[in-house]
């Protein structure tokens, strides 16, 4: 079992409101998508697994085990050895998630230096090889470039290279394509899939785009107001009104319609209660 979560809840500050509420999630491998609207707690869930939430967050769980090790009680030092090495998180916007004052090559090499104990020269070679794997054409030039000098799609591929260099077993991708231009989204997703499959890793894809997740993942978990409302293998099996509303809010090539339906909140808020 890669990931075994039982009854995970996250609350912030003194508030009684739970951002993530009694979530169970088991992952054997493969690709799982977490879908929900803004504020449904999907990103918080991803960060809770990495233990990256700010100190004001109160995280409780009956069990939160990664590869059989309980994460909640793990000392920060061991957690740090795990991050980037066994588990990785790919963030939304490469423009903000790359250090603006470090050249790309140096940044990708960070993981190699931190987790593989490589020297500077070896780490640079490893970084160059990894950049090649994410299909960057002019590796030598990109290595020397600074983040503001490359495009968004390239930036996200650099981010993926940095995060996957140590070949982690669990990759959490938090809206990896939403900051990108539509034309490069598919490309980046495909690349992510190829790398994850090649390394035998598991992927937790967090997104609001239910159709994209349905096409891409083996299983999807629908979240609403911090709770898991439904777990599906196929979009057609959707029963919960919230899931249906999400599906109806996206255009479908097979059933073109003049005007998309805006979700009627009262129906599914009732059903969630």
């Amino acid at each position: 079992m890669i990931l075994d979560i039982k009854n995970l809840s996250v609350a912030f500050g003194r508030g009684a409101l739970r951002a993530v509420d009694s979530v169970d999630l088991q992952m054997q491998g493969g690709k799982i998508g977490i879908v929900g609207e803004s504020g449904s707690g999907k990103s918080t869930l991803g960060r809770a697994i990495m233990r990256l939430l700010p100190p004001t967050a109160r995280v409780t769980a009956d069990r939160m085990a990664f590869e059989g090790r309980e994460l909640l009680t793990l000392p920060e030092r061991e957690m740090r050895a795990m991050r980037g090495n066994r588990m990785a998180l790919i963030m939304q916007d490469p423009r903000y998630s790359l250090n603006p004052v470090l050249p790309i090559g140096r940044q990708v090499a960070e993981t190699a230096i931190l987790h593989k104990g490589l020297g500077k020269a070896e780490a640079r070679d490893a970084a160059a090889a990894m950049l090649e794997r994410v299909r960057i054409r002019d590796v030598a030039r990109v290595m020397k470039a600074y983040p503001h000098q490359i495009s968004g799609g390239m930036g996200q591929r650099v981010m993926i290279a940095a995060m996957l260099l140590a070949r982690p077993k669990l990759v959490i991708a938090d809206e990896p394509t939403s900051a990108l231009d539509v034309s490069v989204r598919g490309e980046v997703l495909e690349l992510l899939e190829d790398l994850v499959v090649a390394d035998g890793a598991s992927l937790l894809l967090i997104s609001h785009d239910i159709r994209m997740v349905a096409a891409f993942c083996d299983r999807m978990v629908i979240m609403f107001k911090g709770r898991v409302v439904e777990t599906l293998d196929r979009l057609e099996d959707a029963e919960h009104p919230y899931t249906r509303a999400l599906i109806a809010a996206m255009p479908d090539a097979r059933h073109p319609m003049h005007r998309l339906r805006v979700p009627d909140r009262s129906t599914f808020e009732e059903a969630t209660r």
Binding site: L52, R80, G84, M91, D93, M159, M163
Partner: protein, 291 residues
Amino acid sequence: MTTIPMTPPARKGAFRRFLTDLAREPLGLAGAIVVAALVLIALFAPLLAPYPPAEQSLTDALLAPSAAHWLGTDEYGRDILSRLIWGARVTMRTVLSVTAIVGPIGLLIGVTAGFFGGRIDAVLMRATDVVLSFPSLVLALAFAAAMGAGLGTAIIAISLTAWPPIARLARAEALVVRNADYVSAARVYGASKWRLLFLYVTPMCLPSVVVRLTLNMAVITLTAASLGFLGLGAQPPLPEWGAMISAGRKFMLDQWWVALMPGVAILITSLAFNVLGDALRDILDPRHTRD
């Protein structure tokens, strides 16, 4: 793959870009030229000064500016131009020493406080507040009086009171930067707190600290001159601009040049630092660019 160090060409390009940026700011360029000239004057004082700075000649006392003594002579017949040139050394030494002490200390304290937050922040910032609440000249005076007057104590005394604004500024910057996505991204790939602090947060705080330090140089020049004026800075016969004004005060009405010339030197120096600091802010901080 060969490993060629890539920083030198990049840095050279950046430096050249910096120069072209500076050339677009006429006022800033003028400030930079004046500061550069002052540094050169300080470095080559023995070659540039027409007379030895402490050479007395009582027959030539209090001469008005002339071809032999461009800026006149003081009450002991010492050439004022030569004393100003040698005085540039004293001023530059003070300014650079104070900056070299204050910059790293303020940066370290501020960035640490801002990045770690919580109790560390509270302790460091209360200490900063305590120092900040002292009037700097008074503290420097007390310190110089207690330790004995001299250039060394003046430098330490000014440094004591000059770091808190830098620390405040660095803290404010660190507070913003520590929440940036790329800092969490670095945490995601397992960077330790110290690595985050020095590799990810501190470099982003540097530009504003550099600007602040440059602007600070003007204040340091004035404080050093004030201490000199009060007799608590560099001691005679060392030519110090503030002390020169103090000595010339007695002859203000009849021999105006004795007090005026060092005053002009102080004015030009602090103005140049101010203008340069302003231009640096415009160049280093894209949010301030004029169109």
